[in-house]
Point group: C2
Chain length 223, copies 2
């Protein structure tokens, strides 16, 4: 990884056009060739960047020197270096990568293993049930054999309810499954989303991730 601190100006031409006036910034060049230009604030997002794969051309003989970075899509990032304050490089090696726990996929897995936690007597028909407009997180049947479509979100907001509505609409078009019930499940659901779910005729359930993780599927079958 190469780190350059420089007074620079930057131009990007590609999916849009963007310009950065002259100022002091960090230019980060990673081992895979990707380049990011950071100001001294503003979260982690760089002001400008170019992802790998790309080609970096340094024109050191011109004044001021420039870097021209081009990718196969013909996007270009041009960095004009008015003054280089610092220029260093370090070999970091490969990264073992990030281990995550607690994202939506985990929640969906746990609920697929334990549909009882959503509603008494539910049995799983399919995870990621395919429709023309995208997969439904969980499709179950209740004790009356009614089809229940379930949308799982980490955070329950209005667009999740809309998504569920679209899926059910599509399910009813695609097949003759009879009346289909909708259940909106999330770790926490915003009041507006609860209201919308109810007005759409859906039920909603807030589930606790840690509790769910603590429950073995067998425990749930006892209910």
């Amino acid at each position: 990884m190469r780190l350059v601190i420089a007074r620079c100006s930057v131009d990007y031409a590609g999916r849009l056009a963007a310009h950065l006036p002259e100022a002091n910034r960090l230019i980060m060049v990673k081992a895979d060739g990707c380049v990011a230009i950071h100001a001294d604030g503003g979260a982690y997002k760089p002001l400008n960047w170019m992802n790998a794969p790309n080609t970096i051309t340094e024109t050191l003989d011109t004044e001021p020197p420039q870097w021209v970075i081009t990718n196969p899509k013909q996007e270009t990032l041009t960095i004009t270096l008015h003054e280089v304050v610092s220029d260093s490089a370090h070999e970091l090696g490969d990264d073992p990568g990030l281990q995550k726990d607690g994202v939506e996929a985990h929640l969906q897995e746990l609920l697929a293993a334990s549909p009882h936690a959503i509603e008494h007597g539910l049995t799983l028909v399919r995870r990621e049930y395919p429709t023309a407009i995208g997969p439904i997180d969980l499709v179950c049947r209740d004790p009356d054999n009614t089809v229940v479509a379930i949308e799982v979100k980490r955070r329950g907001e209005i667009d999740g309810v809309e998504q569920l509505a679209r899926y059910i609409e599509r399910l009813e078009l695609d097949s003759s499954l009879g009346t289909i019930r909708g259940v909106f499940v999330a770790q926490s659901i915003k009041p507006q989303a609860k209201v919308l779910a109810e007005s759409r005729g859906f039920t909603w359930v807030e589930v606790d991730y840690d509790t769910l993780r603590g429950m073995a599927p067998d425990d749930l079958r006892l209910f």
Copy 2:
């Protein structure tokens, strides 16, 4: 901006739980206190981060030394420094900020100037036509004098179709404009969004930004 190259391991506990095994990485601390941990690859997104505002506590007397970063939402990022390779700081000062050109607003302007590019014979009634749930990008009339509501997106996805549907629903409530047609316009539209648009009775149009920019309004009036 402080830049630390170190062999470190990292734990994040907050909206989810995440762990980074020991490896060499860049730790970037910006002037506003935000912290980002970068590997030597993988675009511009850091492996782990903590945005401002937060509190950074360095425990240098323990072995190994740790940084504990906490924010008001009680999320914590813990960095364990097994070996510091480099530690430097630079004063960058404020950044004048990024100037952009070619975003959705520009597309909307061009289409407002050349509604013919969307559909033969359209004439503009208003841009940003106000409704109770937000403004409609473009409202036009076709040669039959039918009102045409147009949603403009840079990229056409399902959400945009839903947005158009809500607007038209609202238009029909608010006034007696007769039947209202919907047109979904974007530089590229995803297949699922096309399906949904058609099932809602809307038409959709893909437009090219550069072609549109090259067209003078007068050229279009000739059609």
